[in-house]
Structure formats: C-alpha cells, structure tokens
C-alpha cells in the first residue's frame, strides 16, 4: 500500500517517478501500437462513413482527455490552493501543456475528419467552437504562469483561473445537446444502449485507456524534470543526481 503522505514529499515522489517510468514508457508504446492496429486495421469498416471514420479512434479519446486533463488540472489546483501542497502545484501546472496538446490534437483530427464527412475543414459548430475555447483556456493558464516570476505564486494564480474555467467544462460537454448542430451526437455515453457496435466500441474504449496511460506517463516524465529543476540546488537532489559540490 502506498503511503500518500510520504509520496507527497518531492524527494520520494521523484524516486517514485524514476522507478515507474521505465515500466510505463514501454507499456505505453506497445499498447498504443496495439490499439492503433486494432482501431485502424482490425475494426470493421463503417457502412456510412467508410474507412474515414477510423480517425475516431484518435479523435474521440483525445477529446475525452482534453476535458479529463482539465479536470485533473483544476483539482490539483484546488488542492494546491487549500493545502499548499507543492507537489499539487507541480501536477497542476504540468497538466497544462499536456491538456493543450490533447485539445490541439482533437481539433486537428476533427478537421481532418470533417473534410470528407461535412465537406469543410472547419464549421462554426457549437462543439468545435467550445473545443477551441478550451484550447484558449489552456493557453491562458500557460500564459499567466509564465507572466508571474514567482513560480509558487504563479501556480496558485493559475489554480484560481483553472477553477473558474471548470464552469466552462459542462458548457462544453452539454453544448452538443443544447445547440444540436452539425456535430454528431454522443454515441458512447447514452443511458439506454451505446449506439456504436461492440466491434467498434471495444477498440475505442481500449484507445481511451491507452490515452490515459499516456497521460500518466507524460505527466510523470514532466514532473520528474520539473522537480529536478525546482530542487537542483538542494542537498538531496545533488546526492540523487551524483553532483559533487
């Protein structure tokens, strides 16, 4: 059983990252390759959208992740604000570039999917616009963080911003139901029965799990280097890294 208190201290978390990363990285690479093979090759062709629908196996998980990472970022920010846990501050701010990348990937794959399906790379549909605004929210967090010289103060300020931004998340998620425009409705999270067949749903959920694994791996790698940057002058880190005075 992991002792949460112990791992909230930076030195032990740094060592934990170092121990987990060599396992997580190959696992992510292998499972990602397997998921791509499953989704892009093994899954059946869609009767209406043909082969083009296969971009869904990247588009949909990254759209889920773009929201999920924002929630993690805001939650870590709340912990950082209330309990002033330094590790939570680092988790909060290291989530931002990862989430921004997922959001950009969602927009990019969505545009590539939209061209053959709708005939246009970009339409001003409510859901597309909301995703673009989510990207702006991430960029706002990154910009505010880099504008404040004091790192700890910067992380707490962006925490407030991220928590305010959480209000926007339900708007994004339910916008498809409110405005109901060009974007297709949700096919997985319906209460009665998923509209996607199991042969397509299984690889999609597999890819979503792999994307989560990728998130954890990337976050740990970023955290490890950010702890190294924060603690480069400290005794324990110099001992860890084998730096002689």
């Amino acid at each position: 059983m992991l002792d949460a208190k112990r791992y909230a201290s930076l030195p032990s978390f740094y060592r934990l990252c170092g121990r987990l990363f060599p396992w997580l990285l190959p696992a992510t690479v292998v499972l990602l390759a397997a998921g791509l093979y499953w989704g892009l090759y093994l899954a059946p062709t869609d009767y209406k959208q043909g082969e083009a629908y296969r971009i869904m196996f990247i588009h949909v998980p990254s759209a889920w992740m773009s929201l999920f990472v924002y929630m993690v970022m805001a939650l870590a920010g709340a912990v950082a604000l209330v309990w002033r846990v330094k590790l939570a501050e680092l988790i909060h701010i290291e989530c931002a570039p990862i989430g921004a990348s997922f959001t950009a990937l969602t927009l990019l794959t969505g545009m590539l999917w939209g061209k053959p399906m709708w005939g246009a790379f970009w339409v001003w549909d409510a859901r597309l616009t909301s995703e673009l605004i989510l990207l702006f929210l991430y960029l706002g967090v990154i910009a505010l963080y880099s504008a404040i010289p004091d790192r700890r103060k910067a992380a707490r300020a962006t925490s407030v911003l991220a928590i305010v931004g959480v209000v926007n998340i339900p708007v994004i998620h339910y916008s498809v139901l409110w405005w109901n425009t060009l974007h297709q409705g949700p096919t997985v999270t319906r209460f009665d029965e998923p509209a996607a067949h199991i042969s397509m749903l299984a690889p999609l959920l597999f890819m979503a799990a792999v994307f989560n694994l990728y998130f954890v791996t990337a976050l740990l790698a970023r955290l490890r280097s950010s702890i190294a940057e924060h603690c480069r002058e400290q005794q324990w880190f110099r001992g860890e890294a084998g730096i002689r005075a």
Binding site: L81, T129, I133, F136, L137, L139, G140, A143, L144, A147, I148, K153, R156, A157, S159, V160, L161, I163, V164, G165, V167, N168, V171
Partner: protein
C-alpha cells in the same frame, strides 16, 4: 458591511467622475466600435439588421475590458488592497463594490445607449426592450468575470493583453445567449429562454466571482 459597500462604491464613482476620461472613455469606445461595423462590413440595412445583436454585444464586451485593467492596480500600488484583506468585512463586499462601480461606468451607460444604436443599425422597435433587458442581465457578468481577470493580472507590469486573453473565453456563453436573445426578439420570436439562461449565468457569477476575486487577490499579495 453594507456601509462599507456603499462608501466604497461612492469612492470609486467619485474618482471616476472627477477624472473625465474615466467615465467617458468606455462610452466613447463603445460608440466608436459600433460605428466602425457599417464602415468595415457593409452599410446595407439588411446586413446591419442581421449583424446588430452581435455588434452591440461585441462592442460592450471590448469596451467593458477597457477600464478594467486598472481596477485593482492603484489599490495594489498604494497598499489599500492589503488593508482590505485584513478588515473584518472580508474581501467579498470589497470585490462586489468594485464590480458594481465598474458596472456603473460601463454596463449601465451601454445598456441605456444600446437601444439607440440598435435602432440606428436597423433593429425593429419592438425588439429594443429585449436589447436593454439582455444587456441588463449580461453586463454585470462582464464586470464580474473581468474583475477576476483584473485581480489575477493587476500587479503584473504588462498585464493588459494577458487579462484580455484570460477573460474573453469566459465571456463566450454570455455572448452566445445575449446575442441570441436579441436575435430572437428582432425576428419577432419569444426570447424568454435565452434571457432566462443569461439570468442564471448572472446569479451564479455574482455569487462566485467575488470569491474568485478574493482568492486571486490573496494569492497575488502573498
């Protein structure tokens, strides 16, 4: 606590009135932005009538940001912000008073001028009450959310552009429903649904935004 709120609002408003540009600038900016659209897009009445709700809302959005940048800067620089954070009233009435005072010099005149501009842009007369009502519900939200951005960037040296970048995404739901209400009214359709959602946004924002302002100010003064 109410006395503190009133005296703060009075102080802010008298400061704004004593310096001419402070209360005239947002109104002048609002007017200029509205009048640029016919020049930039098209002076055709049919086009302008279609664009009018969006023009009015975007002009209100941008003009409201104009005077926000200094909302907390002076108090931060002369130290009265710290005094406020340690008073027994807490930071809530302070933030609310700042938001209200800002609304008085931006949202309120916009609200009163908007039906006039709406008419100039060709909106039908029967839709003008909805224009006023939609701005009445929406402009306090602009001030409240803007205050959060101002509090986060107030003590930074070059915070103006950053504040705009932080705040504008949060204005989107408001812009959508506010302009939608005017659109519906101009088309002769009932606008209650969009107005009701604007009202809901207003209530939630007025409850939570002062808390966020307080949290931001505490972080920045730490």
């Amino acid at each position: 606590m109410f006395d503190a709120f009133v005296s703060l609002v009075r102080r802010d408003l008298s400061a704004a009135v004593n310096i001419h540009s402070n209360w005239l600038m947002p109104v002048a900016f609002f007017t200029v932005v509205v009048s640029l659209f016919p020049l930039g897009v098209d002076a055709d009445p049919a086009v302008l009538r279609r664009l009018a709700p969006g023009i009015i809302w975007i002009a209100a959005l941008l003009a409201g940001l104009l005077s926000l940048e200094r909302a907390f800067k002076d108090d931060f620089e002369n130290g009265s912000l710290e005094q406020w954070l340690i008073t027994p009233h807490g930071v809530y009435p302070f933030a609310l008073a700042r938001i209200f005072a800002h609304w008085c010099i931006t949202g309120l005149p916009f609200m009163l001028l908007a039906p006039f501009y709406g008419y100039l842009l060709g909106m039908p007369v029967h839709s003008l009450p909805v224009v006023v009502f939609s701005l009445a519900l929406g402009t306090p939200v602009l001030s409240a959310l803007g205050a959060v951005g101002a509090a986060l960037t107030g003590c930074l040296r070059r915070g103006e552009m950053l504040m705009v970048l932080l705040v504008l995404p949060f204005y989107v739901p408001l812009l959508v429903f506010g302009a939608n209400a005017m659109d519906l009214a101009a088309a002769g359709l009932p606008a209650e649904a969009a107005l009701a959602i604007s009202g809901a946004i207003l209530i939630v924002t007025l409850l939570l935004a002062p808390l966020a302002v307080g949290a931001s100010l505490r972080v920045m003064l730490d």
